[in-house]
């Protein structure tokens, strides 16, 4: 039996326009596919790979119903390239894959970055490296999502923790990619991709770009509009003419390409906080791990989960290791909160510094060997940052996280 029990997360955000939305139960991957269509995606090229396959399967019938084009390509490289090609034909485009395919797509992602082609790449992470763990989850690709392609570039990466976020963040991915004329990666994982939850769909804008694209350094007119657009993979000027042999111009190009995104972090960065107003201990988590992290935080604070009936509570107490807070009240005085990172890249340094200003200890549970915690450590130098890696594919349990908090508090000076 899977040892973790994932409690519902009480979102502190209201879903905009919820009145007009429709409430359904969907699988994470299904929600992603539906959201893509809602966002105006009208081209999907992909290759089947566990655990992303539900996305390509659903879109093989849904894409054409809305007049879009669907094609299963011969490999992931072809899929990623076709996505970029299609966007220049004026169609919002997306592909979905997992680790091995994501590795193959990196050259094309770099091409999308340097040519400033809006495009969305979904990675439903599994265990790696190589064939790794086709059916178990992980968060091991977090650095690859940022630095996967050769060369210098910026990229936007979103991590959903729930089916609702699979839906909402997919739409946001498209909007961000159009606004900043950049590839955007939705970095999900097998747990979120395969879980089934209640989700409100259809309430988001149907894909119109809410804001105009910001200024770019590359040509940006779609093909077949009479603009004689030159899309060039080499470093280039605003007409698409190569400048790779000119060092000063090339340096300027890369600076501008990165500044395009770095200079707009106030628009891009998305961090959610729970119980952080008076916390000096924080759990910093992203993706599926934010779920048990919030549960651990609630237990530590003695918050009762009111949506679960007392009958179930007793049963769960008997059979699960996720013990309700009502029984363990010894540490309800712990001032611990959750920092949930929704946009993991670019690293939301300023936003994080703000929300973590009062903290002294930050624990970073991740389903990898401890990667993102390095970034947190780099940025929050005056805090104690503790990495909590977990490999193998099982997600951290709330009890494991809670135990770690206690351990950290025990071996360090009392914080309260």
């Amino acid at each position: 039996m899977r040892q973790e029990v994932l409690f519902f997360m009480e979102s502190q955000k209201t879903v905009p326009g919820a009145k007009t939305g429709q409430t359904v139960v969907l699988q994470g991957n299904e929600a992603c596919a539906k959201a893509a269509i809602q966002a105006g995606c009208r081209f999907f090229a992909g290759y089947p790979i566990t655990p992303s396959t539900e996305i390509i399967e659903l879109l093989s019938s849904e894409m054409e119903k809305v007049g879009g084009a669907f094609i299963q390509m011969e490999d992931e490289i072809a899929s990623a390239c076709a996505v970029v090609g299609a966007r220049w034909g004026g169609k919002k485009a997306m592909t979905a894959t997992s680790g091995p395919g994501f590795s193959l797509m990196q050259e094309a992602i770099g091409f999308a970055a340097v040519t400033e082609t809006p495009s969305v790449f979904i990675n439903i992470q599994r265990g790696g490296p190589a064939t790794g763990q086709p059916t178990l989850s992980g968060q091991q690709d977090i650095y690859q999502a940022r630095y996967g392609s050769h060369g210098d570039y910026e990229i936007i990466v979103l991590c959903p923790s729930s089916v609702q976020e699979m839906y909402d963040f997919t739409i946001r991915s498209f909007n961000l990619s159009e606004r900043f004329r950049t590839p955007v990666i939705l970095l999900s994982d097998e747990i979120v991709g395969h879980m089934r939850e209640k989700v409100i769909i259809g309430q988001s804008p149907s894909g119109e770009t809410p804001d105009l694209p910001i200024a770019v350094v590359s040509p940006s007119e779609d093909f077949y509009t009479g603009a004689s657009t030159m899309v060039e993979g080499q470093l280039h000027d605003d007409q698409g003419r190569r400048i790779g042999h000119l060092a000063t111009q090339s340096g300027d190009f890369i600076q501008q390409l990165c500044a395009k995104i770095q200079d707009h972090m106030e628009e891009i960065a998305d961090i959610e906080t729970y119980f952080m107003e008076d916390s000096d201990i924080a759990i910093l988590a992203y993706g599926s791990v934010a779920r048990p992290a919030l549960n651990a935080v609630k237990q530590a604070r003695g918050v009762k989960d009111t949506r679960i009936s007392s009958r179930f509570k007793i049963l769960r107490t008997l059979f699960s290791r996720g013990v309700p807070a009502a029984i363990q009240s010894d540490y309800s005085h712990l001032k611990v909160g959750l920092i949930k990172i929704n946009t993991v890249w670019p690293f939301p340094q300023e936003a994080l510094e703000k929300v973590a200003a009062q903290t002294k200890l930050i624990i970073v549970p991740e389903m990898n060997m401890g990667k993102y915690s390095r970034e947190v450590e780099r940025v929050l130098r005056d805090k104690v940052v503790v990495s909590m890696p977990k490999c193998g594919g099982d997600i951290h349990t709330p009890k494991e996280i809670l135990d770690r908090i206690l351990e950290e508090v025990g071996i360090r000076e009392p914080l309260v």
Binding site: E64, A69, A82, A86, G89, G90, F223, Y224, S228, M230
Partner: protein
């Protein structure tokens, strides 16, 4: 400057990076003439990979996508599916198309998707300094086969034909009139059109056509070529040129897709035999 060339070329990008006498310029002119003759300047976009021949469209005043090594066909298929009403002309080379890009050649030909592909075959990797390519002749001395190539050349036209391409032709830079006509036919052809062009690389690939001068290489191309005749096999050592395949029995990809959608619109998702 030639007025037609002037009309289609981006003058500020000249001189081209092609070496003196490179066949790419001849192929470029043939493409310009074909596009001009058909009057489709606003209906056509070019996609290319990486290599000297992939620079051919980059000097033209058209929509051009200069992509990744070996991937021009993948990008082109995406562009075509996004705008099936428009034309896509692909420029690639023997390395770009037959080595790293081989898989995409196989599958786009199998789909019979409406693209026109001009594969410039100079039997060498020119841009990177003269290493062997899959199309290098046996015995050819190159930078990575310094004592003579031990491999037999790969035949791109045979691959295209075997995978179901419905228009396959091979010409040389010594046949510019026929080449222009083939490009025109390929663009008008509703299906996957594959046109191989033997071309001279006098600086890096002179060993491919037995002479160091561009004119000498083209004369040799004419010598080793043999015009396709139905029912006859080429003499030993000759390369078949001409229109090799012209089929009308296969539906183009998007047509086939639409037909399948129409025929199956009442089918539900699920296993075929349930």
């Amino acid at each position: 400057m030639n007025p037609l060339y002037e009309k289609y070329i981006k003058k500020e990008t000249l001189p081209t990076l092609f070496c003196p006498g490179c066949g790419n310029g001849i192929i470029q002119m043939a493409a310009i003439r074909a596009i001009h003759q058909m009057g489709i300047k606003d209906e056509i976009a070019c996609v290319s990979g990486i290599g000297c021949s992939s620079w051919i469209p980059c000097y033209l005043n058209l929509d051009v996508m200069h992509t990744l090594h070996g991937r021009s066909l993948a990008f082109a298929q995406g562009l075509k599916l996004a705008r099936p009403d428009k034309k896509v002309l692909v420029f690639t080379g023997d390395g770009d198309c037959l080595a790293i890009g081989g898989n995409h050649l196989i599958h786009s030909a199998a789909r019979n998707i409406d693209l026109t592909v001009v594969m410039v075959n100079n039997r060498i990797y020119g841009m990177t300094g003269g290493q062997k390519s899959p199309a290098s002749l046996k015995g050819m001395k190159t930078k990575t086969s310094p004592t003579g190539n031990m491999d037999d050349p790969v035949d791109g036209c045979k691959i295209a034909e075997a995978m179901g391409a419905t228009y396959v032709a091979r010409w040389t830079t010594a046949h510019p009139v026929q080449l222009e006509k083939a490009i025109t036919e390929g663009i008008n052809h509703h299906g996957f059109a594959f046109i191989e062009v033997l071309s001279q690389c006098p600086v890096q690939g002179s060993d491919a056509f037995g002479d160091k001068t561009p004119a000498g290489m083209m004369n040799n191309m004419k010598e080793i070529s043999w015009m396709k005749k139905d029912g006859e096999n080429p003499p030993a050592g000759k390369t078949v040129i001409g229109l090799l395949v012209h089929r009308t029995d296969r539906m183009e990809y998007m047509e086939r897709h639409q037909t399948s959608q129409d025929q199956n619109k009442n089918e539900k998702r699920g296993k075929a035999n349930e």
